[in-house]
């Protein structure tokens, strides 16, 4: 062996050249897994290490975390107090083309596209022939290829939505030193549409694929999404196509499970029934799928103040994310009459509420509850700060207060201590069978935490400014924490697309003239609202079904699920309309210029890639 030959070196550890990697048939599935991991994980070592992207702290470079920040922090739904670089410019809507979060989002999107492209390059017929891949695996690989194209279309949709005119690369481009061309938004729309329509037949039928992998309905959902926003993307509306795609999905057996809304965001949301609604999920696991982005961020960052981390199945909050009063007011109950609502949910019973926290004080008659099931009573009530008890027939001989002997804080006992209550309108439930009570929001989606929190945001930094949001919790329906005993990482799967979204898209498309049926739309929405209220008390009628209602209802139903920015832009309320606290970087909020409906092409990429033109305004 000559010395010169000894300069031809190849890796000797776990790293492999492409040819040696694909000697293992499992490599194709593992590569596909990487494409899915591109959204949930940040690198090849969990929770951190061997990052995909090196330009920003690894935890911050996670796809889901970045996408969530783009969609939520820029809106009335979320504000963050951290001092991480330019992160506060997102809510302030004063970002520039130098913003590293926007830059890393852009980079992450294009990285994801290159991963998909590389997969397609490595699975051409020629490559598979040359590697002698056997027939059954080849069939499988055709499905993989469709999923890779789906994942690429999904990512290009995000890029089209955020940046409008991103660089455009496909499997026909090389890897290495070249400058990608820029694509125009309308052309990218055509590409995404064509791709998705083209792969529909190759995708596994809805709800038939392995959990965590995309199926045909996921592709139809992305189609519906681009059609719903087509006017924004291309200037031409496609609402009828929304109806078509959504109908395809709805007919496939997805259901709104009649379980409490909050169950959909718990550690066991892959099995507690919530999964019946989910069209495309991003699975996480506290032990096996760990990243500081993704759900770990979405659970930890909104926890702080007096919130008990144990309620969230985690070891501690990160004291970052809160919401604005604008979002809180989406749950305003100005028109809500507790007495009327109580009598609407069942026959009034002799069980009632009494106490200093109730309108009649300790002296007045009981506030009656309705019987909603055998020995189960429920009533709506507006409390003031104080205490209360359950009482039968205005008489103290049968009354329930807390049960100090029980570990369950919601257990009751005859003549037990008074139950403290906080001001506000609530739904109170008494189960005489089990002697358990609960005090819930009227709308079960109002997952706000207010104790010690100031509704108004006078300063961006402190956690107690603005109500906290308690949506994602790493506990199961019984309150048991997730699988990571250290409380760092979570089991919650992120529901990227779910039926409620599809229903709301249907209703919006109907209202925007895409055809369909108004009464069906109302039925769909009432299905969602019955889960939210736990009964028909929140149902709407056709006259309630307006576009104003839809945008608000989308926020109530889908908040913190990375939809808000796109929705506000479609409704024209993101930039030059719409005011919420700290928008425009002033406490009371102000409107901003409409060019902010698009994110800037990052200055770094403009500096490198001379094919690119900046979006207007930046």
């Amino acid at each position: 062996q000559s010395c010169e030959d000894r300069l031809d070196l190849q890796p000797e550890d776990e790293r492999l050249t492409a040819d040696s990697a694909f000697e293992d048939p499992a490599a194709y599935e593992q590569f596909l897994a990487k494409i899915y991991a591109g959204i949930s994980l940040s690198g090849q070592q969990g929770p951190a290490g061997a990052p995909d992207l090196a330009g920003l702290d690894e935890g911050f470079s996670n796809y889901l975390r970045l996408y969530w920040k783009m969609q939520e922090l820029t809106t009335d739904e979320a504000i963050i107090g951290w001092n991480d670089g330019t992160i506060q410019d997102l809510h302030g809507q004063v970002w520039t083309s130098g913003n590293e979060f926007i830059r890393t989002m852009y980079t992450r999107l294009m990285y994801q596209v290159t991963l998909c492209n590389e997969f397609l390059r490595q699975t051409t017929d020629d490559k598979l022939d040359s590697r002698g891949v056997e027939a059954s695996l080849r069939t499988e690989i055709q499905t993989y290829r469709a999923e890779a194209r789906f994942m690429r279309a999904l990512t290009y949709w995000h890029a089209m939505d955020l940046f409008a005119n991103p660089p455009f690369v496909t499997e026909d481009d090389p890897t290495g030193a070249f400058l990608p061309e820029q694509i125009q938004r309308a052309d990218l729309f055509d590409f995404i549409e064509t791709e998705l329509l083209d792969i529909l037949d190759d995708m596994v039928a809805p709800r038939q694929n392995e959990y965590g992998r995309a199926d045909r309905a996921a592709a139809q959902m992305v189609l519906a999404k681009i059609y719903l926003n087509a006017e924004v993307y291309t200037g031409a509306s496609r609402y009828a196509d929304v109806i078509t795609q959504v109908n395809n999905i709805i007919g496939e057996g997805y259901t709104i499970p009649q379980i409490p809304y909050y169950h959909s965001f718990l550690a066991d949301n892959d099995s507690n029934g919530a999964q019946d609604e989910v069209i495309f999920t991003i699975p996480f696991d506290g032990l096996r799928t760990q990243a500081f982005g993704g759900m770990t961020f979405l659970v930890h960052a909104p926890v702080g103040g007096t919130m008990d981390p144990a309620d969230f199945g985690i070891n501690g909050g990160w004291f970052g994310v809160r919401t604005t009063p604008t979002f809180v007011d989406q749950f305003s109950l100005d028109d809500f009459d507790p007495a009327v609502a109580t009598s609407a949910i069942g026959p009034l019973s002799d069980w009632g509420l009494i106490g200093s926290g109730t309108p009649n004080g300790w002296d007045g008659p009981d506030i009656p509850m309705a019987e909603i099931d055998t020995n189960v009573y429920q009533g709506y009530i507006t409390f003031i700060d104080g205490e209360m008890k359950f009482r039968f027939n205005n008489d103290w001989s049968l009354n329930y207060g807390l049960d100090p002997s029980s570990t369950n804080p919601n257990a009751l006992s005859q003549d037990g201590p008074n139950i403290p209550v906080m001001a506000g309108t609530y739904k109170v439930t008494l189960d005489v069978n089990t002697l358990i009570y609960s005090i819930d929001s009227v709308d079960g989606r109002e997952l706000l935490y207010t104790d010690g929190q100031n509704k108004d945001i006078e300063e961006v930094g402190p956690f107690n400014q603005g109500y906290a949001v308690a949506k994602y919790r790493n506990v199961d329906v019984d309150g048991n924490p997730g699988s990571d005993a250290s409380g760092d990482h979570t089991d919650i799967d992120f529901p990227m697309f779910r039926l409620a979204d599809a229903y709301l898209m249907y209703a919006e498309a109907v209202l925007r003239g895409g055809g369909g049926s108004t009464s069906t739309a109302v039925d769909y929405i009432n299905e969602i609202r019955q889960r939210a209220y736990g009964n028909a008390g929140g149902n709407i009628s056709e006259s309630d079904l307006t576009l104003d209602f839809i945008i608000d209802e989308r926020s109530r139903e889908l908040f913190f699920e990375a939809h808000r920015r796109t929705d506000l832009i479609r409704f024209g309320e993101f930039s030059d309309q719409g005011i919420w606290q700290w928008k425009g970087n002033v406490p009371q909020g102000t409107t901003t210029d409409s060019f902010r409906d698009l994110m800037p092409i990052p200055a770094t990429d403009l500096g490198i890639n001379t094919n690119l033109t900046q979006n207007p305004g930046y």
Partner: protein, 372 residues
Amino acid sequence: EDDVVFTTDNNGDLSFTNNFSAEYLLTPQTAANLAERFTWDNADVDVPTNITYQLQKSNSGDFTDSETIGATTGNEISITIGDMLSYAAQLGLDSDPNTPAPSTGEVHFRLRSFVGDGGLENFGASQVLNLVMLEVTGEEQAVCDLDQYFMVGAAVKFTGWDWATPQKAVCTGTNIYTVNVDLRNNVDGDGNFRFFTTETDWGSGINYPGFIDQGYTIDPMFEDAMDGDNNFLFTGPSGKYFLTVDALNKTITLDDPTPQGNCDLDQMWAVGAGLTDAGWSWDTPVQLMCEGDGIYSGWVNYLAEGDANFRFFTTATDWGSGLNYPHFEGEGYTIDVNFENAQDGDSNFRFIGTTGQYYTTIDTLNKTITLE
């Protein structure tokens, strides 16, 4: 330049550059309109730095009660007529010529600027704005094809299938008919009713399919009763509703009861043993809606047996908000002869007439309580 220290200081005044009107005329109909656009020039602080401007408002004029109503890094803040109406409300202005409250007042505005997070504060001179509430001289003339729709049927409380006391949805807007009506769900085994265009004319009825055929969208609390006459069936919870027949947009809708005139309250309440529907409980209090300027009225079932006592309340479920017989006497009311002071310790009202339903009116302007 690297070693320059950037020291900032306030130079010059911070003043509004827009022209102000002599008076700002406020009407609710124009609430969405722009009332004023406050503009100013950039503050001069010696150094090009970030300056925030806040528009502050004061009722007293000395800004001890200053309220920040907008902030910007730009050079203008706009306020609407609606904003000004709320300032007027704070000042206690109203638009009713019949009240002693004034209809004109002053609000003071000034500009505050600061650099960075709150340094180098500077205040501009105060500017007074005169607000004028336009007095209401009369309702807009409602124009309808009919004077009213009559509602008769078992579901209509105090009416039933009888023309004695028909419920009238009257014209309150262009081809809009409204009424606060007590609806009963399946009382006496039936909950049906029908609309009529002509009083006492059973032939003038329009049933459920009759509206559907005209293309109406009907509130989901109504159904076709399928009772041979295809009457309306009320399926919602019994209670008072604001019913609207919108002949223009072809809808029939039910909403929460809605006051029909200018009253201090949306409604008055009454509970007590003398009220058949209520008793001494807030479960089903009697509601007297605001049905005209200063007038609370509605049908009430009185019981002349037992204590027959009751009281009026301004706030539901608030036992402290009761108004007893001497209260109204003290205010100089003329009280119907069917009532007396119950002399029961609380000095409640007592009904001493014949058990039955009476249309009860509390007229707070003319200070009368009447039964008919």
